[in-house]
Symmetry: C2
Subunit: 301 residues, 2 copies
């Protein structure tokens, strides 16, 4: 089924103990689309400035990603992010950020995207996420990401958004903050009570938790990756694998949601093995399925 | 098979967001023995002072724990620890500690303990762990715990110990420190190369990792506990469930090790549900087996 993503396209500069990747392609919509494209066609919605050095259609060549929703704004500049990771590389330090095109009005949804059934709203101001949703006619399963900034400064908007979506995907710090609760299982339960029927909590190298409003629970460790060169995009790749698998399956029952979490986990493990999109672009669906099986074996007792 | 544990008996005062437990029974050997006693008989080795207000034989009534190795030192005082947990309760802050009997010579091993096949050396100075091992004749599987203090200050002793044991159980911070490596899977591999054929890394609410020298790997999330009142003793209960299950099974092949990790995980989840030993003492083997099954289901996709 149709999967729409809206999010950022970024010019990233990333520093990790394994090296520096200067002015490379990044952004939530980019990682998401690459990850989701293993499972289903993707409708891409995002904006870049005239300075964007990447030909996205070329980068996504042979992948089922529709760029009808890619706006090139010749008066604007592309979003830029510079970040670095130290030590266990669990968290990025933002060294510099230029919002540029992200500070402008969001891209317009092409008519042919408006019937999208599966929708992923990557992290941005919740009011923009709401405005985007209002332009869609018939979404079946909407997932959104968010961050500490909005929980702190735009909680009223975020609460409105929560009532309009089916699934919230966020990290453990954000989940604790949003639910005002330290225990993650309880936090996930509290969040489902405020709107979404499903909450997915990403715990980085410690895996993830998914909880449904009815209490159904699933916990999964991360794939035990020995090679982690650059964690940038892991969360968006996870979301891409997750939503891509759901849209491809055309189902959102709990068994499918669990398998989608497992696919998200595995896809993210390929992302972090190299800088920028290199980890994902050299991966095949066969590699992903093989690693999924391996993960299933690794946790079996 | 016979399982020997040596470690501390403590008078603990613990403060968590759920309340204060003053002068309650604690200590690594105590938590370990209670946890292991669900699976196999335990030989207890430890020392207390004249001030010890607990009748251990009464506390362990009807449990297969042999106290022939409990030394009561009438001139000494019992080990005391006061600690507190905040927020997510992932780490204890030590508010006060009185080593007392732990600063003296270690307890003597009774003759009838010397043929013990499974041995757990709870955290103490590695030189004492080595001395203890030297008194045993015929151990089949020796596991030891350690801590940052010894890694920092007594690394040479610790390295000697590693060559004499089969399994090192430690937490993620300690594993990173000992291996001088951030990636936990790689760290576990490095540690197995320095001696033990098995390394178990405890990650608290994020579960655990077990790795064998041959590269065999198993990862397990923690049981998703909604009620965590007091994490004290979780690590020693984990070790108790782990070693108890191995000794009870009389096997240490990888399939048995994996199941032992799962049992350790489940037993620890009962420990943290209440203060001191209350969580464990009200638990039955049937409860443990039931939760083990539940954990197996919770991670299945």
């Amino acid at each position: 089924m149709s999967l729409l993503v809206t999010g950022s396209i970024g010019i990233d500069t990333v520093k990790t103990p394994f090296g520096v990747s200067k002015d490379c392609l990044g952004g939530s919509a980019v990682y998401f689309s690459m990850a989701a494209s293993f499972f289903t066609p993707v409708r891409f919605l995002g904006a870049i400035g005239a300075d964007c050095p990447f030909d996205l259609k070329k980068v996504f060549k042979k992948r089922p990603v529709d760029f009808a929703g890619l706006e090139v704004r010749y008066e604007s500049k592309t979003f830029r992010w510079a970040g670095s990771y130290q030590g266990a590389m669990n968290e990025a330090t933002t060294d510099a950020v230029e919002l540029n095109v992200l500070a402008e009005s969001p891209p317009k949804i092409p008519e042919e995207y408006k019937d999208s059934k599966f929708v992923f709203l990557a992290n941005t101001a919740p009011i923009l996420q709401i405005q985007l949703l209002e332009q869609l006619n018939n979404a079946k399963f909407v997932a959104a990401d968010t961050m500490n900034l909005w929980i702190k400064n735009n909680l009223a908007d975020l609460k409105r958004l929560l009532k309009k979506i089916d699934c919230l995907i966020l990290n453990e710090t954000e989940a604790r903050m949003l639910a005002n609760e330290h225990n993650l299982i309880t936090a996930a339960g509290k969040i489902t009570k405020s709107g979404p029927s499903v909450v997915v909590i990403k715990k980085g190298e410690s895996g993830s938790i998914i909880r449904q409003k009815n209490g159904d629970l699933f916990v999964l460790p991360a794939y035990p990756a020995m090679l982690v060169k650059d964690p940038t995009g892991a969360g968006d790749s996870f979301a891409g694998g997750f939503m891509g698998y759901l849209a491809g399956s055309k189902k959102t029952d709990f068994a499918t949601l669990k398998k989608a979490v497992a696919y998200g986990t595995v896809v993210a493990s390929f992302t972090i093995a190299d800088f920028s999109l290199k980890g994902l672009t050299k991966t095949t669906r066969r590699d992903i399925d093989k690693r999924l099986k391996e993960l299933g074996k690794l946790i079996k007792f």
